[in-house]
Subunit: 508 residues, 2 copies
């Protein structure tokens, strides 16, 4: 029987397991990367329940049993090493990513207090400072790692509220008009209609109510309209509300637009609002000198009070790795705004990073970013971004020129290439439709083709709706292993192949 | 130059790295477990900055460079494989824990939507259901993984609020008396004075205000006084407030007390409050048949609306692994209460677990618990708990009988053995002090000895304050490799040795 009593021989047991899993893993990576296996062996939940042994036994299954579980897990999971995994804003990771996670697993450390994670705590302080400085946040730049971009955005909003209205932390949220003596009216959050839904979630978590998010319209490229933002703020003030938090997005989720941070910063300053930038997706372009020199995407970031940046997206660091950066004394800003009395844990050390979070124990996720930076260097990480941008541009051209395909935006503003496919056989019918009918028809085509492609498993791409336009394919260019012809051109072929087998007359 | 362009040979690169790190890791585990190295080579932040290369370069350091970083990281970190790491409620992990993290790293998966994490999503559904059923939550048991116990407690409170007062989610939190037409008064949270500070953090996050937590006193064993709880609720209702959330703790952070869940459940039912159990620490005893049969610790858990349980504490699963369990349809409860419109991501699949969180992307932490259960079986995990309990009891006796040591509680209620050391040389002086002076003196002794022990590095233990009594040592019995005589008796020796070198006349 396998028992926890055997722990005194952990080193031996670990050696046996590591030796055995190494071949399995290397083989898995190779097959994924060389596309000898599909991105996924697609199965419905019902099918998977039959194929995979999910039982949880009283007696342990031992070494042989657990390696069966490991093999099955790999077999039925998405192989994100396959560059044809184009579905999400994250891609597969890389060798140093795996090694970093292994290092963290062995340490099993906790980055809440310095004395149990001395090196890893300082890594967090140093790497957030360095990334903040890429955003020109200066000497007092720094930050804190959160378990995902949504968590970073949430912590930003909590920090803003506690900093601007400290009485809410102690007394509670009691705004005018209900509480006439209150120093604030209903707190209002401003964000673009294309921003991530985590802003909505943060607003509801804080008890502000979803009705109190003001969704600012975007221009034709998906960027927040700053003049409208100002008008909406003015309107809100006239109603005796209190605008307090503006979220600018650097790289929107669906289209990849960059809100004009610099202009928004001026509005934030004028109206005494906290400026947060959700750069979960696009913030990582700070690593590319080329982008920083030739685009205005991150211009004005130094004026942000807080800035979310997820290395687990564009930099290939394993999930989860999200930073909340600030020019205001780094992690100490968060400690001052959010700490609770917890004398049993925090004994007054400014290197105890956990004090600034809304949690207690925390994974030392910063280590993975630290390791990636050390290994690839800033240049290596920047090069990854430049390569992806170049590929996105080439793929956009390819889609533009191919019959039957229609770009949602031309050029693609960032790394998402979004398009519709209108089957040539029914093109006339589709184009003859008007308004809602046209939209419904094209959405149905996208969804049907998408479903077929997903079940095939050769590619994983996403489809997405957006206010006012039909559902479209969203292809995310991220993995450095992605090839224009081998992969992206092939995707267009696959869409056509799948289309050829559909009898649209039955479906539309 | 190492560049991300080399990714097409990831399999080869990973193989080289894995082969190389394997020896380093196995050696590290062995030295820690056999105590050939101290728990930590203690250094201040200032010293560490000199010893460790924290620079983040433009050009990557390559394979040799990164292995230097890895070696230094291990050298200056806490070696939690050493059973003398007794400082926190988590201990070192175990081989299958490391392998599980490695598996997750290779998959780099995201448990927000089923189609990118099919196996891992079902693992989460199955393992939360199974753990919920150990708590007698029945057929509709289930849950969701959160990034830590605090996050689970927070999600519980958000869910309770959204479920009981859905208007807050949309309109915002506007209670009586300020908003006379409101259906609720100031929302009040009830929790014991010994409960974890994450309850406080959740209250401030939600905008309820720290003033609106009612801290219920505890009995001599640290358990919530249920009769006082009821009186406080009555009092609150008389003031036209709205008690809505009662937190019972199963295993308090400092002393390890179990609040009487069953009795508290009756109060919760009577006053229509949400019953949450914070079993982050103690909930895992559900794996021990012996505990479940012979104690009343978890009695009444089936009445909890939500229940936090952290396998990363008592079950040796790597950090982070925290579950929020519920008898109310598992993860679907959370989806119904907390989901936002995010059509780009969620396409209406009930296996898309992320819908219930306040985040988006999420680590598939459930996999680690699933793997641990498979490998050790419920019996193996339960055996670990039984062993720790037996050891805690023996160590308590040892402390009781040893001159100079005084137990804070006798017997120790759970796995924390808490005690003071009164140096025999100054015992008369200390005992002659009264009230605050006595308390200050004993606290100073504890802190001074603790600091010396920490710098020595042979052990890591924590010291803790608690309302009204002097600071004491808190020794957490958790690691299955811990030995009564080799380790715990030695700790008492070390305290005496350190004491022998202190000139108390100078310090007190």
């Amino acid at each position: 029987m396998v028992s926890t009593d055997d722990h005194n021989s952990d080193a031996k047991e670990l050696e046996v397991m590591l030796s055995r899993i190494q071949h399995i893993i290397v083989d898995y990576v190779q097959k994924g990367q060389e596309q000898l296996v599909p991105v996924v062996n697609y199965h419905t939940p019902e099918e998977l329940y039959k194929l995979f042994d999910f039982t949880l036994p009283n007696k342990g299954v031992g070494l042989e049993g657990i390696f069966k579980t490991i093999s099955s897990t790999l077999e039925y999971s998405v192989n994100s090493w396959n560059p044809r995994f184009l579905d999400k804003l994250y891609a597969g990771t890389n060798p140093i990513g795996v090694i970093s996670e292994l290092l963290l697993a062995v340490l099993n450390s906790n980055a809440h207090v310095f004395h149990v994670s001395p090196v890893l705590s300082l890594m967090e302080i140093e790497v957030t400072k360095a990334v903040g400085q890429l955003l020109n946040m200066g000497e007092k730049a720094g930050g804190i790692l959160c378990p995902g971009g949504s968590a970073s955005n949430l912590l930003a909003m909590i920090t803003a509220r506690n900093k601007l209205f400290p009485s809410i932390k102690t007394e509670g949220y009691f705004p005018r008009p209900f509480h006439p003596q209150s120093k604030y009216g209903k707190l209002k959050v401003f964000t673009s209609i294309h921003s991530h839904y985590s802003i909505d979630k943060a607003v509801q978590v804080l008890g502000l109510g979803l009705d109190n998010i003001v969704k600012v319209p975007v221009d034709h490229e998906g960027r927040m309209q700053v003049d409208v933002l100002e008008k909406l703020i003015e309107l809100s003030i006239q109603k005796d509300e209190t605008p307090f938090f503006i979220n600018a997005t650097a790289g929107t989720t669906v289209l990849g637009a960059f809100d004009p941070i610099k202009d928004i910063a001026m509005i934030a300053k004028k109206y005494h609002c906290w400026l947060h930038v959700d750069g979960s997706w696009g913030g990582s372009v700070a690593f590319s000198d080329k982008v920083m020199k030739t685009t205005s995407w991150l211009e004005g970031s130094e004026h942000a009070d807080t800035f979310t940046l997820n290395p687990h997206k564009l930099l290939g660091v394993p999930l989860q790795c999200s930073m909340l950066l600030t020019p205001h004394e780094g992690h100490l800003l968060f400690a001052k705004s959010n700490s609770s009395q917890a004398d049993y844990l925090f004994h007054g050390n400014e290197y105890d990073i956990g004090a600034g979070t809304i949690g207690c124990g925390r994974r030392p996720d910063a280590t993975k970013m630290f390791m990636a930076w050390k290994y690839y260097g800033k240049d290596g990480l920047g090069g990854r971004i430049d390569k992806a941008l170049s590929l996105a541009s080439q793929f956009t051209s390819m889609v533009r020129e191919r019959k039957g395909f229609k770009l949602v935006q031309d050029p693609s503003p960032f790394l998402q290439v979004c398009f519709w496919f209108v089957p040539p056989s029914i093109e006339k019918h589709v184009e003859s439709l008007k308004g809602k009918e046209y939209s419904l028809c094209l959405s149905r085509i996208t969804r049907h083709l998408h479903q077929q492609i997903q079940e095939k498993g050769e590619f994983l791409v996403d489809h997405s709706p957006l206010e006012g336009i039909p559902d479209f394919f969203r292809v995310v260019i991220n993995a450095p292993t992605l090839s224009l012809h081998r992969d992206l051109e092939r995707l267009l072929d696959v869409i056509e192949e799948v289309n050829a087998s559909v009898d649209w007359s039955e479906l539309l």
